[in-house]
Each structure stands twice: as C-alpha cells, then as structure tokens.
C-alpha cells in the first residue's frame, strides 16, 4: 500500500493548478445549458484543448496526454476545486469516447475523437424515448436499411437529450431488426443532427435552462461508416463500457470534494452559533465526499492492476447522486430565507440543488441501481 502520488503526478498537479489559477474564467460563465452559455463554454473547451487539458487521459494523437487514471483523478480534483466551468462536452468525451476507443474502427476514431475533444463536434446522448426511460429496452425508434445509399434511415423520437438543442451530433440505439424484441436487434448509431430529416425541440428543464431536447427522426440518414460495433448488437456495445474503467468518469470524486469544501466555507461564513444542529450533517457529508475519494482510489488501483469493475458501479452512482442532494440540502438549510433565491451570491446553491436532484433520476434511476446492487452485488433473486 502506498497512498502517495508520484513526483510526476505531483508535478502534473502543480502545473495544472497554476494553469487553472491563471485561466479559469472569473466571474463564472453563465450556464452552459443555454444557447449563449453553451457558446461561451465551447470557447473554454477550445482553451482547455489548446493547453492539452481537455482530454488528459486520451492518447496524444487525439489531443490528450496519455495521462494515467491517477492523473485523471488529480485533474478532476483540481479542476472542480478551482471552480472551473462545467464540461459541456462531457457526454461525448466521457461517455461516447470510451465506447469509440473500444469498439470504433480506426477510421471512426480519427474522424471523430479529435473533433470531439476540441469542441468542433458536440455530442448528445440519444437513449431515452417517451416510452423507454428506466426501461431502456423499450426503445422503439427504428433504423431501416437503405441499400441504395449504403446506410440507414431513422424514424422515431428520442427525448431528455441533454443539451440536444445545441449539439451537432447524437449517439444512441435504434431498432434495426423489427422482428427482435427487448435488448435484441438494436444498433448503436452515430448521427449528424444537421440534416433535413431531423427536428430538435428544446425542452425547458426544472432550473429554467433549455437543457433538454426532444429529437424527432423522419427518414434521417446515417451512413454505414457511422455504425459503432456490429449491426443488431448495439445493446452489448452500449452496456460493455458502462461497467468499464471509464464508467467512473461520469461524476468523479473531485466534484463532491469541491462542493463539500464550499459547504464548509458557507458554514464558516455564517454566525458561528447559527446552526449547531447542522454541524453533524455537514461533517457527515464531508466524510462521505472523502469516502467516495478513497473508494475510487481503491477501485482505480484494482483497474490499474488489471482488474475490472462490475455492478459495484451501481453503488457508486447511488452514493454520489444522493451525496450531491444532501450537500445542497444542507446548504439550503444553512441559507434559511435566502435558500429560495436564484440571484445574488448564494444563487448557485439553489441552482445546484436542482441539478443535484437530477442525479438520482438520470443514468438509470437509483431504484434501478438498487435492484442491480441487490441482484448482482448481493445475489438476491431477480424474480
């Protein structure tokens, strides 16, 4: 057991910290989930890319630094601690990219990855449909073979597509075998949203931002070159990476460590006897952020040593999503009458609370995750 970072890792942290101190925008950018804010965030992404901080863990040829998982965790800790902007590219770089690295052809990798990393292509997810939320296997959007054009014709609708109104591309599952059911007969497609057969309608999210979109497909086209993995085997492609080492990238501990720090700062800012009853909850939330950090280090060590993660990732998702809600609830309790404000110096807490409330819902509701934990970690019977 060695719980210190190497000199190279510490140097990486030091260099990064200095760069962030010099470059993180102040005041903060407006929300990246609005058209105007999205554009400003893409500017920031280009700056990150230029400094080779956009995708530190990727190979150098695609704009990364070949950074280790440890360096990636350091990056995340420093990034969020510095109060740097949200990553509007995240669904591409954190969710699609690992799948492309694993399943994509070399041509796909070269066509997509660097453009994604520098913000030239922005990717949104196309999983959920009106009747396929928690029950993802209920997808009914279709991709029909178009031999004439060597590709596929898409029809149907995707929904709850985060930042779908601003992105250039979408990745998701479509039914390619109409005779198959549930998890079978779906294909993982990479779709250019800028084409005639596609209509994107922004949907206002809880916090007032147009962060969601509905995407309608009316004979839209995807060429064969944009099929990821095998035709009709899309479910496997989509699932294979969820438990992989990059699965931990959705919400790294760095975010919650930073929020816990901010919460303690907030508590210290208030009259010292204002809320003795909240001390215990503040401390527990801070401990939980530490626990997440060390549970991650434990997992990453296993990965680095050649192991892999499995259904344990469901525990991680429940833990961080509920910790995030708790951190913000404590802050709102500390703020008292100021909690409801969405302007002024404390507004980010109510904004953050609303964002945190999406955590137990998206990426598989926590109810689904708890089923997975019970069945696949504990071994309880499915039915």
């Amino acid at each position: 057991m060695d719980l210190s970072f190497s000199p190279a890792e510490e140097a990486f942290r030091t260099e990064l910290r200095a760069w962030l101190a010099a470059n993180v925008p102040s005041p903060s950018l407006p929300s990246g989930d609005t058209a105007e804010g999205f554009a400003l965030h893409l500017e920031w992404e280009r700056k990150l890319f230029a400094a080779r901080y956009a995708v530190v863990s990727w190979p150098e040829e695609f704009g990364g630094r070949d950074a280790s998982l440890w360096e990636w965790l350091i990056f995340e800790e420093e990034y969020w601690l510095a109060g740097a902007p949200q990553r509007v590219t995240q669904n591409g770089i954190f969710l699609l990219a690992p799948t492309i690295f694993e399943f994509g052809t070399s041509a796909q990798q070269h066509a997509i990855l660097q453009k994604m990393a520098c913000g030239e292509q922005t990717w949104c997810q196309g999983w959920s449909e009106p009747n396929a939320g928690s029950d993802l296997a209920g997808i009914s959007s279709t991709a029909t073979r178009d031999d004439a054009d060597d590709g596929w014709r898409l029809n149907g609708q995707k929904t709850w597509t985060t930042r779908g109104a601003f992105c250039t591309h979408l990745f998701g599952l479509f039914r390619t075998d109409p005779s198959a059911e549930r998890h079978n007969g779906m294909t993982y497609l990479l779709v250019d949203l800028d084409q005639p057969g596609i209509t994107v309608r922004g949907v206002e999210r809880l916090d007032g931002d147009e962060g969601f979109a509905e995407v309608f497909f009316d004979d839209a086209f995807v060429p064969d070159s944009m099929v990821l993995g095998e035709v009709n085997k899309g479910w496997g492609v989509a699932m294979a990476t969820t438990g992989s080492e990059r699965g931990l990238t959705l919400r790294s501990p760095g975010r919650f460590l930073a929020t816990a720090h901010k919460l303690i700062d907030l508590a210290q800012q208030l009259p010292h006897d204002a809320t003795p009853e909240l001390r215990d909850r503040i401390t527990q939330a801070w401990i939980d952020a530490q626990a997440y950090r060390w549970q991650t280090f434990w997992t990453v060590t296993k990965l680095v040593e050649g192991g892999h993660t499995g259904p344990e990732s469901s525990m991680v998702k429940v833990f961080w999503s509920e910790l995030d809600v708790e951190l913000h609830e404590i802050a709102l309790d500390l703020l008292g009458p100021h909690a409801e404000l969405v302007d002024g110096e404390f507004a980010h807490w109510m904004k953050g609370y609303q964002f945190a409330l999406s955590g137990p819902i998206y990426a598989g509701t926590n109810e689904i995750q708890r089923n997975v934990i019970a069945e696949r970690v504990l071994g309880l019977p499915r039915k």
Partner: protein
C-alpha cells in the same frame, strides 16, 4: 374535546376551494410566471369579494370577525392550488391588526430576511422587526427585485424607514404568518402527491404501471405518512392562536417544522417518481414543488423552527 371543524367552517372552505378550482388552475399559475406581477387578479378579486381577505378583521372594522380555525383550511386550499398571491400576508398579518384597509393587499418582511413577496404590487408593506411592527404605504418604499426559484413568487428586497406602530403585536403577527405558510405547505403536499399518484398509475415501464413497484409505493407512502402527522399539528396551532394559548409560539413552530418537512419530502418523492418528465417545466409538478421549496425556506425553515423548540425543551443547553 372536539378536534374537527364545524359545518359552517366546512362550507366556507368548500366555497373557497371551488372558487380556486376555477380561478387558480395550473394554467393560471403558469401564466402568472410570465405576467408583470406574478399574480392572479381574478382569483384575488374573487377572494376579496367573498370576504376571505378580511376574514380575521374585526367585524367593527368591516371584516368577518372570524378566527384562525375558521380559515386554516382555506389557507391550505390556497396552498393546494399554489395561489400566487400575498394571501398569508394580507389575511393573516395585515387584516387582523388593521394594518391595511379593507380591500388592500399587503406584503411582509420578517427580522430574519429583508425579502418581501409581491411588494411591488401590494398596497402596504409591513415589516416585523424585533423591536416593533411597521406598516408602510407601498408607494413610499424602495423595492429591488430579487429572483425566487418560484417564478410566480416575485420577491423584493425592501429598504424601509422606521415608523414603529405596535410592538406588542409583532409576536402574534409572526405566528399568524408562520401558521399560514404551514397550512399552504400541507396543501402543496396534497397536490404533489395527487399528481404523482395519477402519473404512477398511467406511466408504464417494464410492461406495468410504475405505481405497482414497491420502490415507488413506499416512497409515496413515506411522504403521505409525514403529511398525515403534520396536518393535525397545523390545525392544533390554529386553535392555539384562536384561543391565545400560552404555548401558541411552540405550536406554530411545530406546525411549520412538520409541514415544511412533509412538503420537502413530498416534493422529493414526487420528482423521483415522475423521473425526467417531472424535471421539465412543461409538466405542472414544478409549479408546486418550487412553491414548496420557497415556502419551506420562508418564515423559518424546519430546522430553524425546531431550534426554537429545542431552546424551550432543552432549557439548559446552548
């Protein structure tokens, strides 16, 4: 002992409930989010005509001369529809103390917060301060707009001059306001749970309505239990105010604490059971949820009121 309402009280409540069902639909609350004042003038004028706003004003001053018990479920009904109006401020704080004239509306600030809801469209702004109670013609004060998470609840930071009026009434005015907010929170819980039950009956995943899943059932049952045990404390606190019970301050704090907790729990369970659709502003849930968040925070949140109670209960501590 008779812990229930009279037929007259029932009838008054039912009349107001029916009126609000017409005049304060979800569509009208939604419209208030984007109108100038955030309010629903149709509903307000109807309430005024029915005498609701002046229910607690002495008859000699042109009111109905009723008490807190007579109106507690009316306040709950205003919460149930998320009425975007200063009803608590006007009916519970201003009218009983004659701090606004018949037909006038009022906004109120409390010592802990300079935020006055709808203060740019009320006739009077009242400040409750530790050392006294002050009423100001709205025209005479300076309002700075602040944003509430609830888009219909227009907040203003007000700078007030110093004209003390009746310091002995500060405590009673504060309790009435707290009670009013507690009642509204109960009504909001009702509506959020009802919306969610309807959704869970209809929404299917894995081939069955999601309301058949124990995980959904138990979340909603838990919120419903909180509401079941909050409401009696709200009604009890109303009676304590009506009868000048020496423990009225404790009772109103208990009411606000439990009603706030129940509403926060109802909001959280409702959002979770709705999933992504509840996370959009296209669905009505958010109208009620955001009001619940705002009213829980205002006039002392649950933790704040528990602390007041702790200081009485655990006398030698802190």
């Amino acid at each position: 002992m008779k812990f229930s309402f009279t037929d007259d009280q029932d009838a008054f409540h039912d009349a107001v409930r029916d009126l609000l069902a017409q005049r304060c639909t979800a569509a009208k609350v939604r419209a208030a989010w984007s109108n100038r004042t955030g309010r629903t003038p149709d509903a307000w004028s109807a309430l005024s005509e029915m005498g609701v706003l002046d229910a607690l004003r002495p008859e000699s001053d042109g009111g109905l001369g009723l008490n807190e018990v007579d109106v507690i479920r009316i306040l709950e009904a205003t919460g149930r529809v998320a009425l975007p109006e200063p009803i608590v401020e006007t009916m519970m704080v201003a009218a009983p103390l004659n701090l606004a004239s018949v037909g006038q509306s009022a906004s109120v600030t409390i010592p802990e917060s300079p935020l006055a809801p709808w203060a740019n469209s009320t006739d009077v702004v009242i400040s409750l301060a530790a050392d006294g109670l002050r009423a100001h013609a709205a025209a005479a004060i300076t309002c700075t707009s602040r944003g509430s998470v609830d888009g219909a609840r227009r907040l203003f930071q007000v700078a007030l001059d110093d004209v003390a009026v009746a310091s002995t009434h500060v405590a009673i005015a504060f309790r009435r306001g707290v009670l009013g907010y507690a009642a509204q929170l109960c009504g909001l819980s009702d509506t959020m749970l009802a919306l969610t039950v309807e959704y869970a009956k209809e929404r299917k995943q894995f081939g069955v309505p999601i309301g058949t899943f124990q995980a959904v059932k138990h979340q909603l049952a838990n919120a419903r239990i909180k509401l079941e045990f909050a409401r009696p404390l709200v009604y009890r606190a109303a009676m304590s105010l009506a009868t000048n019970d020496p423990a009225a301050s404790m009772h109103t704090s208990m009411a606000k604490a439990v009603a706030g907790d129940a509403a926060m729990a109802s909001a959280k369970a409702s959002l979770q059971c709705h999933g992504a659709i509840g996370y959009t502003t296209e669905h009505d849930l958010h109208l009620y949820m955001k009001r619940a968040w705002a009213l829980n925070a205002a006039w002392g949140d649950a933790a704040w009121h528990r602390r007041r109670i702790s200081n009485v209960l655990l006398s030698d501590a802190q």
